[in-house]
């Protein structure tokens, strides 16, 4: 299962990477044509199923304005706020386009610390993790445009998740709390 996902990811990501290495001078329309149709977000899926992110329709929702989500990376002025804008607002397009190119899935892990050190991210302070970036960005927009904004609106909970939340079959039975609240 995991392998298939990896292959899928590769199928999606390799052409994009190749595309961006090939040159940055294409018109935005062409970039859009080359964008991945679906992206599976599963790097930390545990309590929730992976998200099948429909990139193609989000391009439509964003009215072809990639900067709405990709900040400065595609070479148009960033519409974002925050620290990155201080330096990168008017920068040309970069090779790094995927969210996880900047937002690490676990910046607090040893691996994450190592990557940050290697990249020499001296000024990249207070940058959200990948999970933080998704949930801050996606939910804020979804609230505005009436997209799904509850947890299971994007990713159904796993059984492990139900256990974690004491929900579903793991919900506390009324007799469990005979003591009540103090």
């Amino acid at each position: 299962m995991l392998k298939i996902k990896k292959i899928l990811m590769l199928m999606v990501l390799v052409p994009i990477a190749a595309f961006f290495f090939a040159g940055n001078c294409f018109a935005q329309e062409e970039e859009i044509a080359a964008g991945p149709a679906t992206i599976i977000l599963d790097s930390i899926a545990e309590y929730y199923e992976p998200v099948n992110f429909d990139h193609a329709s989000h391009i439509e929702f964003a009215e072809n304005d990639c900067a709405k989500c990709h900040h400065h990376t595609i070479g148009t002025p960033s519409t974002g706020t925050g620290n990155c804008n201080l330096c990168h607002k008017y920068e040309a397009s970069t090779k790094i386009v995927a969210c996880r190119g900047c937002h690490l899935s676990d910046p607090y892990s040893e691996e994450g610390k190592k990557i940050r050190k290697e990249r020499g991210e001296v000024y990249h302070k207070d940058k959200p993790s990948l999970k933080g970036a998704y949930h801050q960005f996606c939910i804020s927009c979804h609230e505005e445009v009436d997209g799904p904004y509850t947890c299971d609106g994007c990713h159904p909970r796993t059984e492990k998740g139900d256990k974690f939340f004491y929900s579903g079959q793991y919900a506390p039975k009324p007799s469990d709390n005979a003591g009540g609240h103090h």
Binding site: K125, S129, F164, F165, Y166, S167, Y170, P172, H181, H182
Partner: protein, 306 residues
């Protein structure tokens, strides 16, 4: 009638009154000069990010091996609960809880997470006359149930009403509160379970010093988004947990009248009189002693049973 809270009672009534009478007020001068451990960690809570998903509550329950909650963690009716005229508070079964506030002029509700703020100069610690509390260099305020005699002064002293008592054993009641996941995570440089679970990165873990910088940057770079204040930077001498908010803090349940003096300054006065009190009222001392030895005996008993 003027409303008097537990703290002002302690401050004005106990400490002030008795101190005044005994003329011991001068001893508190040195308090408030301790800069604190330089590398202590903390968590910056950004209320503008919180969506009230309660993942942090669930994570705390799991990490601290707390008993099953009364309601599932995805049951949002808890936000409407009122206990003794108040919104939910941390309890001995839940070291952290999230409350919802409907603030006028805001189209979305504002959520606020509550737990021990891990004060720089903790009132619980300084009020405890058997030294059951410690502040670790990493920033956590820890509690040792073996030392505690169950007098509950810390509950009264805490400006944030955090320590809760577990009465599961009548003879051996113990304080239960957030310990910033010290023994399972913080000690090893890992962030608390709630911070890791939060999907929105409402809870940013880092060196307290860095967090203050992040907070200032966020205020500066997002004009109009935040009120220009970092709650906990100065309050009661500073806390390890810091807060940013898009609405005035008093509208989301924060006490904005605590002042910047550590509570230590008040209770220290109170503390200096504790030995005095004990000599004045031997009966009280006997009571504490009894409690302490009872517990010791009980500990011995349970040990010998092993």
């Amino acid at each position: 009638m003027k409303k008097m809270n537990r703290r002002s009672l302690l401050k004005g009534g106990l400490a002030g009154g008795v101190i005044g009478a005994l003329g011991l007020g001068k001893k508190a001068e040195a308090a408030g000069t301790f800069e604190g451990y330089p590398d202590r960690m903390g968590v910056l809570v950004d209320l503008t990010r919180c969506i009230g998903c309660r993942s942090c509550e669930a994570a705390c329950n799991k990490e601290q091996k707390l008993p099953a909650p009364d309601k599932p963690f995805d049951d949002f009716s808890v936000f409407d609960e009122i206990h003794l005229g108040q919104k939910r508070r941390p309890t001995e079964k839940a070291y952290t809880i999230v409350n919802r506030y409907d603030v006028e002029g805001q189209d979305k509700p504002v959520y606020r997470k509550i737990q021990c703020n891990h004060c720089n100069e903790p009132a619980c610690l300084s009020s405890c006359f058997v030294n059951a509390y410690t502040k670790t260099p990493e920033g956590a305020v820890m509690y040792d149930p073996k030392v505690c005699v169950g007098c509950r002064t810390c509950m009264i002293a805490c400006p944030f009403y955090v320590p809760a008592y577990s009465y599961s054993s009548v003879l051996n009641p113990v304080v239960k509160k957030c310990i910033m996941c010290y023994d399972t995570r913080l000690k090893f440089g890992r962030r608390p379970a709630c911070a890791e679970a939060c999907p929105r990165e409402t809870l940013t873990f880092g060196k307290r010093e860095d967090l203050i910088y992040y907070a200032r940057q966020r205020i500066k770079l997002n004009p109009g988004k935040y009120v220009n204040h970092i709650y906990g930077e100065k309050e009661v001498g500073g806390t390890s947990w810091l807060y940013l908010s898009g609405v005035p803090f008093e509208e989301v349940g924060f006490d904005t009248h605590l002042g910047n003096q550590p509570i230590l300054n008040y209770v220290k006065e109170f503390l200096t009189i504790v030995p005095m009190v004990l000599t004045i009222w031997p009966a009280l001392f006997a009571g504490f002693h009894l409690l302490a030895t009872r517990k010791e005996n009980k500990n011995k008993e349970s040990e010998s049973q092993k």
